[in-house]
Amino acid sequence: MIRTEKLTYTYSQGTPFEKTAVDNVDLHIEEGAFVGIIGHTGSGKSTLIQHLNGLIKPTSGKVYIDGEDIHGKNVKLRDIRFKVGLVFQYPEYQIFEETVSKDIAFGPKNMGLSEEEINTRVREAAAMVGVGEELLDRSPFELSGGQKRRVAIAGVMAMRPKVLILDEPTAGLDPKGREVILDQIKEYHQRSHTTVLLVSHSMEDVARFAEKILVMNKGKVFCYDTPPNVFTRADEIASIGLSVPQVTKVFGLLRSKGIDIRQDVYTVDFAMKTIKEYLEQKGR
C-alpha cells in the first residue's frame, strides 16, 4: 500500500539552518493496517507523513502508493491527495467556511462530486466524529476547540481516502476530548477498513489501538513492529526519551523485583488478565 525507499528530506538545504528531518527511511505499510507513529518532538514524524501525499517532495528517495511512484511522470498529485487524506496538527486553524457543513464539504467539492454525493458524505463524516446535525448550519468559529478539531477531521474523512493520516489529533485537548477523538478514529478504522496512520508523541495513545508501531528517532526509523515486540524493548525506548505506557513500567518494576511475569504488557485490560493468570498459577 505505502512504501518508501531511502526517503530523505533536508530542510533549508544550502543554508546555515540545514536540517535533515527524515533520514533514509525504508518503510512498508500494509493495506488496512492501523499504524501508530511515535517519536520525540522534532523526530521527523510530521515531515515523514507529508511525503506520503506528496506535499513535500523528497530530497532523495522514493514514495510509492499502491505501487505507484507518486512523483512519477503520469501521476497527478491531486489524485494522490484524495487517496491519502492528511489531517494536520491543529487542523482547526484551517477552517474557513461560513458553516460547518460547507467546511466539511470543501474536500469532496474539490473532488468534483455531485451535490447529492457531497451531502451524503458530509453527513456521514460529521456523524462519524460526533458532530450533531444541529451543528451543521452553525458557523464553525462559534464551536468549542474540541468540536472544531472534530469538524476539521471530518473534512478529511469526507473525502473517503484509502489512507487516513492524522498528525497528533489529540494535541492540546483535555483527557476526555482525547479519549473521544481516539475512540472515533478507532471506530472509523473498523468501519471503513481503510489504512490509518496515527501520529502521536504519547505511547499511551498509540498503544491501545495500533496494530503496528513505528518509532522514529532523530529522523530515522528506530523500529517498526507490533506493540508486544516494541514494548519488550522498553529500556531502549526509554533511552531515546520516550516513555512506555504506565502499565508497562509497572510490569518492568515487578520483573526487576524478581517476579517472573511477562513483559509485553501495554494495556490495562491485558495487565489485569496477566496478573490474574499469574496469581492463579502461583496459588496452585
Binding site: S12, G14, T15, P16, Q50, N53, L55, R78, R81, F82, G85, L86, V87, F88, P91, Y93, Q94, I95, F96, F106, G107, N110, M111, F141, G155, V156, M159
Partner: protein, 270 residues
C-alpha cells in the same frame, strides 16, 4: 517556496561585521547608499562597490546567500532596464521598428542595474548580520532626539519589532495552511485568474483569524507584564560602541569622500 524568502532574515555569526554596533552599521549603510547615489561615473561606482566587497568579505557570509536574496527583484531590474535602454535619448546604435537602442540608454541602464543590485546587497548585508531586535533598538536610539518634537520613536520601534518578529511566524503559518488546504485538494497554482483569486479565500481567512488571535494574545501578554510604553523602560542588552565602530565609520566616510572627489573632479572639468 515561501521559506525561500530571505529578505530581512538574520544569519547569526561572529564576524567583525556581525559584532559592529548596530547604530554604526545603520549609519554606515546609509553612507553606502549616499555613495551609490552620489556616484555619477563608473569609477565612482567602482569605489562604492569595492567598499561593499570589503564589508561582504569581512562578514564571512556565503555569496550564494547574496545571490539568493537577489532573486525576487530580478523582474523589477529587467523591466526597468529595458525601459531605460529604449526610451532614453542619445546616439542610436541599433533601431528596431520604432525602438532605438542608444548609447546613453545602454549606459544609464547599465549604471542603474549596478546601483540597484548594490543597494539591495548592501541593505541585505545589514539585515543578514544584525538581529532584527537589535536593529530596531538601534533605530529607536537614533530617532530618540525626535521624541522632543513628539515623534513616537519608541512606539514605532516596538511596532517594527513586533512586525519583524511575526514575519517568519506568519510565513510559516501561511505555508502550513496552504499545505492543509492542498491536502484537501485545493488547487492554488493553476486555472484562470478568477478561479485562482477565489482559491486564496481558504488561505486568507484562516490567516486573518489566526493573526487576530495572535495579536490579542500578545496584547494580553504584554499587559500582564505591565507594559505601558517606552517611558522609563530599561534594556536588557544595551548597545555599546567601541574603537572598532568608530574605525569602521571613519573608513566608510573615507570611501564616501573618495567617491565624491572623483565625481566632483569630473564635474569640475566639465
Amino acid at each position: 517556496m515561501l521559506k525561500d524568502i530571505t529578505i530581512g532574515q538574520y544569519f547569526p555569526g561572529d564576524s567583525v561585521v556581525h559584532k559592529l554596533d548596530a547604530r554604526f552599521k545603520l549609519l554606515i549603510t546609509a553612507i553606502f547608499i549616499v555613495m551609490l547615489f552620489s556616484a555619477d561615473t563608473f569609477p565612482g561606482l567602482g569605489i562604492a562597490l569595492v567598499f561593499f566587497v570589503i564589508s561582504f568579505i569581512a562578514s564571512r557570509l556565503s555569496p550564494k546567500l547574496m545571490i539568493k536574496s537577489m532573486k525576487p527583484i530580478i523582474p523589477v531590474i529587467i523591466i526597468t532596464s529595458i525601459l531605460n535602454i529604449f526610451f532614453i535619448e542619445g546616439v542610436p546604435l541599433i533601431s528596431i521598428y520604432k525602438f532605438r537602442l542608444t548609447d546613453n540608454g545602454l549606459r544609464t541602464s547599465g549604471f542603474m542595474i549596478v546601483r540597484l543590485i548594490a543597494l539591495i546587497c548592501g541593505s541585505s548585508l545589514l539585515t543578514y548580520t544584525t538581529s532584527p531586535i537589535v536593529l530596531t533598538d538601534a533605530i529607536e536610539q537614533i530617532l530618540r532626539p525626535l521624541t522632543k518634537i513628539k515623534f513616537p520613536a519608541h512606539e514605532l520601534a516596538m511596532m517594527m519589532t513586533i512586525a519583524l518578529r511575526f514575519i517568519p511566524t506568519l510565513l510559516e503559518e501561511t505555508d502550513k495552511i496552504m499545505s492543509a488546504q492542498k491536502a484537501r485538494g485545493a488547487e492554488l497554482d493553476s486555472g484562470p485568474f478568477l478561479q485562482r483569486a477565489k482559491a486564496l479565500i481558504p488561505i486568507l481567512i484562516p490567516l486573518f483569524v489566526s493573526s487576530f488571535r495572535r495579536a490579542e494574545e500578545l496584547a494580553l501578554a504584554m499587559e500582564c507584564r505591565c507594559y505601558n510604553g517606552g517611558e522609563g523602560r530599561t534594556k536588557l542588552k544595551t548597545l555599546v560602541s567601541g574603537g572598532k565602530d568608530y574605525l569602521a565609520l571613519s573608513i566608510s566616510i573615507l570611501f564616501l569622500c573618495a567617491v565624491m572627489v572623483i565625481d566632483m573632479g569630473r564635474l569640475g572639468v566639465a
